[in-house]
Symmetry: C2
Subunit: 154 residues, 2 copies
DNA sequence: GTAAGTTGCTTGCGCAAGCAACTATTCCCG
DNA sequence: CGGGAATAGTTGCTTGCGCAAGCAACTTAC
């Protein structure tokens, strides 16, 4: 049996996805270093900001960040040690924790956001138009309808 | 000054990019484990296969893989120790090496490719049509014209 | 031809993340 | 209810990677 091949278009679509993700991630992370957070940390803080006072469960955060619960437990440790985040026992489930942003966390996030936003504009948003963004959104929906549903504009 | 906000569409396009990359990477990597290579290793072998007998310079491979030269040096060590790859002194520059796939490397890659291909179909290609792929290719070009040029279909 | 600087790769060190084993709590079913 | 299975999170260990310093080979300027 002959090994199947990717068409040039398939290859380009896939390779570009891998390459550009890594490149943008690295560049934004390098800039964020000035604000004192890694991309991973930043994105957790951002999720928590959206969650507000209610906070979010460890496990859900880990899932959204696509990382193991073990790894996430340590990430939370670091944020907590720096006073950016609090663990609160979940009222409805004694096994779990709800993670909540502290006011220090909120203000660090505000600072980091400026950097993050500037880089995002420079590397991503400024280079794409509405159509491109809509195309991307449609593609992510096709690749993971479940994710898309949870990110419905409601 | 008010902090600028992302529009819902901008947010979705960006978050989906981050999330889907990580999810697909993880799932494919999990399957590749059966073939005995990580995604990072796999993609180096694949680059080398394309390069053929001529091989590729360490530095170029590191760049394409978006990793540090130090990290790549170790990655090459691992592949070389397993006999999948050879370092050959570069004839035109005594500091550098050219990395070349061995026949063992080639046959491992062939096996890994089947797995990789199946997963890629399942998670990515089967869910998108030609238009989607073309949209992606166009978007990668806009995000990094230089990369696109190097990946010209010739 | 030699000194000053650059580039290609390697190496010591530290950190962040995964896995798997463990604890504590909750759920499920007889 | 009682006891086993499932779930939430933590911890010990391992691994892969980045950073920065180092070495050797190349380049440029004088």
């Amino acid at each position: 049996m002959a090994t199947p091949q990717l068409t040039p278009l398939e290859d380009k679509a896939w390779q570009g996805f891998l390459y550009l993700h890594d490149r943008l991630w690295r560049e934004i992370e390098a800039e964020l270093e000035g604000a004192g957070v890694s991309m991973a940390e930043y994105s957790v803080l951002a999720l928590l900001a959206k969650a507000g006072r209610a906070g979010m469960r460890m496990s859900e955060l880990a899932q959204r960040r696509v990382m193991s619960t073990g790894g996430f437990s340590r990430l939370t440790d670091r944020l907590q040690q720096r006073g950016l985040v609090e663990r609160q026992r979940a009222s409805d489930d004694g096994r779990g924790y709800v993670v909540v942003l502290t006011s220090d966390g909120r203000s660090l996030l505000r600072r980091a956001w400026r950097t993050h936003y500037a880089e995002l504009r420079r590397l991503f948003l400024d280079r794409l138009d509405e159509t491109d963004l809509a195309d991307l959104a449609r593609i992510w929906e096709r690749l993971d309808p479940q994710w898309a549903q949870e990110h419905e504009v409601g």
